[in-house]
Symmetry: C2
Subunit: 344 residues, 2 copies
Amino acid sequence: MVGIDDVARLAGVSTATVSRALSGRGHVAAATRAKVEAAASELGYVVSASASSLATGRMRNIGVVVPFLKSWFYTSVLEGAQRRLMQHGYDLTLYNLSGDANERETVFDTFLLRQRVDAVIAVSLELSAVEVDSLHALGKPLVGVGGPIPGVTTLSIDDVGVTRLATEHLLSLGHTVIGHIGGDVDAEMSFHMPSNRRQGWEAALRHAGVEVRPELYFPAVFTLESGYAAAKQMLGDPRLRPTAIVVASDEMAIGAMLAARDMGLDVPRDLSIVGIDDHELAPFFGLTTVAQHPEQQGERAVELLMRELEGPSGDDEPQNLQLPFDLVVRSSTARPRGERDANG
Amino acid sequence: MVGIDDVARLAGVSTATVSRALSGRGHVAAATRAKVEAAASELGYVVSASASSLATGRMRNIGVVVPFLKSWFYTSVLEGAQRRLMQHGYDLTLYNLSGDANERETVFDTFLLRQRVDAVIAVSLELSAVEVDSLHALGKPLVGVGGPIPGVTTLSIDDVGVTRLATEHLLSLGHTVIGHIGGDVDAEMSFHMPSNRRQGWEAALRHAGVEVRPELYFPAVFTLESGYAAAKQMLGDPRLRPTAIVVASDEMAIGAMLAARDMGLDVPRDLSIVGIDDHELAPFFGLTTVAQHPEQQGERAVELLMRELEGPSGDDEPQNLQLPFDLVVRSSTARPRGERDANG
DNA sequence: TTGAAAGCGCTAACAT
DNA sequence: ATGTTAGCGCTTTCAA
């Protein structure tokens, strides 16, 4: 392995100069720097990450913890974070919690504490006070994506606002019987997201003076399949007859579209559907949705971390930053049939 | 930061003994080990990864390079690899090449050479000789997943065999006009996989004495959308009239099923469709497919690496290991209509 | 079985 | 602007 001394010898300077020339820290004469760089590339020298880390205390590596991997949202966040990190010369080490139950414990107790990462990004994970404290005790900056965590800087969308916007879109089209397929409010794992989204739906209805009918809410588990099943239930019940559905994720919304089709219902003629996410399949299905830009969430998380890491540690108050979301209208929503007839 | 000396002091032993007790290397009296462990956990001691790495030369970290992230196949491989690595106490650092064009160069020239990883897993990447050599020059074991790479141990399925099996399934049902939607053979990026899969389709037909009609092959790009478009073209051409289609991926196959439905064709009554992958959505759509178990591919890759890393470096010849695949019959395939009539 | 001590390869404070 | 040198925190001979 060629080391810093080899480069120093070849360039005819000290190791300190090599270090300075290559890292860009400290002043080095242009000519010297050139010599050093030439020597380094001639020898194919690359700094030893561990030696460098031991000396500086910085790993140039950040840990990203996700609850699942195989999901559009998490991989999108990951992709955004990875891209930004690479631009800063940082590595990303990935911790996926979707294995057995005690994997989470292992990750927090062992992996994250090994001092291999300078900071961590937790995606859609409602961290316990203990978990947060152990990270903070090590002086590791931490940012959460996907929902607020007490005492931690987090990035998330306004889950209430998002479904309210979706519902208002339907209301503005003239719908009044609007169902909601969301996460199971009784089994909330992630930041009460399911109940927040449900609240947005209710708030919009209430604000428009439309009665909230609890039987128009159907719980599901954020998969296409469960969205399909929930929609079948909702659409099959003759007492319900919604003309539109607000669905808490695009995957479930696509399932709902397929269910409607299988029941002989035309979307949007007989039924309007709005999703949330702007999933990559949304354009194909013509799904109207509220985009939440997860890649940007990943990028923003990295930016926050970099500021904390490279900057003079402003020690800003942890806060929950709200990220933008946008309504993307495609062809799964339209005025309700009656409305159209009334106007036609 | 509590260090090894703190533990040594509290336990009343030397740092060498602490190191031995905690790492399990070298003999330590049971009583001593207990004392050390007690002291370590009392202080919340965790070894410094960089110090340990500097001393041992081992990072306990492996790099996984993927061309894309947002794809069922890659995240599945990643999930399998991650799980196995964690069991071995290894970290996984992720390199995603889907950004701008020179990202690949950066990853290979800079990131992977920083000596932050003990080995690398390259997924669906046809590495150049230069890339392979630079890794080998550093003594980094390397295993490829998804196709053969000269001079590298690789894990892959038999792409010819996979479509042959799918095609033979259709032949055995009585189909003779069998189309193929695959990758673009002229734009092969990954291991000639598109043309291998096409060859499997042709080989099966030929072997059954069925004429291969080149116009029954339609290129697509492995997305649901492109599968939909290709199927529409194929099914819309009155000169073609296939009774079955072998599709090179489940996502494209699902697209094809939707296209068939939109054209008023019943699957499998009017058209049988077989995919390849056993994607998570395949059961929902009732898609008959050839499963290729990507998670297992990730796990196997890690196992190979661990053997090379921990074992006595057997220096086995690099080879391409074939992984198993299975036909999973669901409800998207059946005997062709004519056949049924003939027997009915 | 345990301890003393010499590194591992680099960085940064201090000197010049 | 550059060199000297003392660590960074651990592992691992070598000795006891």
